[in-house]
């Protein structure tokens, strides 16, 4: 019996709080809107018409819509997110048609028609190039990939996928072995005593070499799991952990710098390009 009034009382307080919050937000938004109207009317900031003005306003309002996520998930943020996904998908499709299919596939198989109607740049000295029938192979493989959408024969797409996976695996193996495995071992073999062209000892560069050598060896010891990490080996492994932690710390610091730079970019856009309340 005693719980009911308390619950009702809490509910009433919660409802009042929500109402007050809604009113506060409505007042803030209204005041902000009036301030924008006043600035546009006085010519202090660009108006939302014309190609440039409209683009500026849409970009600014979408930026604010995305920022609104900081206060919590909301329909305005959802709208901006969905719009971004839709526009991105369309952009990728159109770009790939014009950058891949037209010049690199249709331009090879139907050079006369493509160079006459879509891509005059294909013509050299006024003549279209010869048809390259070899490009029927990627055309067939491309069509095979689309069979994934078929409810009856989706397995046909696997032939094209197998080709893609094989090529990618081979290419990556070569790249990693040459640049990451051999190249990195070569990069680790550094002199511990570095001398300048004039013959003077360079302590900074020499110390860097020493850190590289010790850091790499200690890091490798940490990832060697066939021996128990005790005694001297354990202490070197511990040094490896410290090296990794310092690397992660540097990485985190860089990440913060990157994210803040993006925030600065957006706020500069809002304050300088849109609102015009700061100078570049």
């Amino acid at each position: 019996m005693g719980a009911a009034p308390a619950s009702g009382s809490n509910g009433a307080t919660g409802g009042g709080s929500v109402n007050r919050k809604a009113i506060l937000w409505a007042v803030l938004m209204g005041a902000g809107g009036l301030w924008l109207v006043w600035r546009v009317a006085t010519g202090a900031m660009p108006a939302p018409w014309g190609l440039e003005g409209l683009g500026l306003w849409v970009a600014a309002l979408l930026t604010l819509a995305v920022f609104s996520f900081l206060l919590g998930d909301n329909p305005v943020y959802k709208f901006a997110e969905h719009l971004f996904v839709g526009v991105s998908a369309a952009y990728w499709m159109v770009t790939n048609i014009w950058a891949v299919l037209v010049p690199n596939l249709f331009g090879k198989l139907f050079p006369e028609w493509i160079s006459t109607h879509l891509l005059p740049g294909l013509r050299e000295n006024g003549r279209a190039p010869e048809t390259d029938w070899f490009y029927l192979v990627p055309a067939v493989f491309g069509i095979l990939l689309l069979w994934r959408l078929s409810p009856k024969w989706p397995w046909m797409s696997r032939w094209a996928l197998a080709f893609i996976i094989g090529i990618t695996a081979g290419l990556r193996a070569i790249g990693f072995v040459a640049s990451d495995f051999i190249g990195q071992i070569h990069g680790t073999i550094v002199s511990l005593a570095v001398w300048s062209d004039t013959g003077s000892f360079l302590p900074g560069a020499s110390f860097n070499g020493l850190i590289t050598l010790v850091g790499v060896l200690a890091g490798l010891c940490y990832f060697y799991f066939s021996k128990e990490q005790t005694g001297l080996f354990g202490r070197v492994s511990r040094l490896g952990v410290w090296t990794l932690m310092i690397t992660f710390g540097a990485g985190f610091g860089y990440t913060v710098m990157g994210r803040v730079a993006l925030l600065v970019g957006r706020l500069q856009f809002l304050l300088i390009d849109w609102l015009r309340i700061a100078s570049p």
Partner: protein, 284 residues
């Protein structure tokens, strides 16, 4: 029970970081920059290229990374254009072509009106295929490119007619925000072709690419800080770039950037201190 900073409403942290960025933008608080040896090394390497050299500038990023990467793209473009270096733009990202057209429109055509498309700079445009496309550029560029980025036949162009593969270039400068980016250009391009490469990248990418320095990579411009240092070196060497007609975007961003860092450092220190004090009181 003692109050701890980690219990602070996260929206207050957002507001503090927001204010630490907004106030320096409004009132222009700046800190002096000091070029690091690595940025100086990259600058001197670009500066040592003689007029007429061919620089391949790969812009592998999207609008999401523009605030960080546009300033270094602009600075390197200005540097190369001033030196009379021929600039070839290329991108492996579908979102890259607008980045290329922006730098051509806002930097080359605006600040260097004497330079002409096709004679002093050219765009090869976007090609998909990630590392496979880079490998083809390294071995036989013509298998991939029938036209330049604006639809001119590759054999007809003054700058593109003589291109064969990556070895046709004197240097590669990769500006990237992820995959494919600098790492892939090293793995599948410059390492096999033996062409020198320097790179500018988002701060997040920089630690991942440090292992390639200095044997496989001439140097790294990591994030907005390195871009500001490059701008400073450019102004010191070529004082005409100090004119406001040449915007120093990275330098302008470094004021708010530094204040935001100070705020974050302050919050981290305060958070740890209050947690430590709360722990001690709890033990008593």
């Amino acid at each position: 029970m003692a109050w701890r900073l980690p219990e602070l409403d996260r929206r207050i942290v957002f507001a503090l970081v927001g204010l630490s960025v907004t106030i320096p933008i409004l009132w222009k608080f700046h800190f002096p920059e000091f070029p690091s040896p690595m940025v100086r090394g990259v600058f001197e390497r670009v500066d040592s290229l003689p007029a007429g050299s061919k620089l391949l500038l790969t812009l592998d990023y999207d609008p999401g990374s523009e605030p960080e990467l546009n300033p270094m793209t602009d600075a390197v473009t200005r540097h190369a254009a001033t030196k009379g270096i021929r600039i070839y733009y290329i991108t492996m990202w579908a979102t890259g072509p607008p980045m290329i057209e922006r730098v051509i429109r806002q930097v080359l055509q605006k600040e260097f009106p004497d330079l002409a498309y096709g004679r002093d700079f050219v765009t090869l445009g976007y090609k998909p295929g990630n590392e496979a496309a880079i490998a083809i550029v390294a071995s036989d560029l013509r298998k991939l490119f029938t036209t330049d980025g604006r639809g001119t036949n590759i054999n007809a162009g003054e700058m593109t007619g003589s291109l064969r593969n990556l070895r046709s270039f004197d240097m590669v400068f990769s500006v990237s925000a992820g995959f494919p980016g600098t790492k892939e250009w090293i793995q599948y391009g410059t390492d096999t072709a033996g062409v020198p490469i320097a790179a500018g990248m988002t701060a997040v990418q920089a630690p991942l690419n440090y292992p390639y320095y200095p044997t496989q990579l001439l140097g790294i411009l990591g994030g907005i800080k390195a871009a500001a240092e490059y701008e400073l070196l450019l102004v010191k060497k070529y004082p005409r770039f100090a004119d406001p007609a040449f915007p120093q975007e990275a330098t302008a961003k470094m004021g708010p950037q530094t204040w935001a860092h100070l705020t974050i450092i302050g919050l981290i220190v305060l958070g740890n201190l209050t947690t430590l004090l709360a722990g001690r009181r709890g033990r008593r």
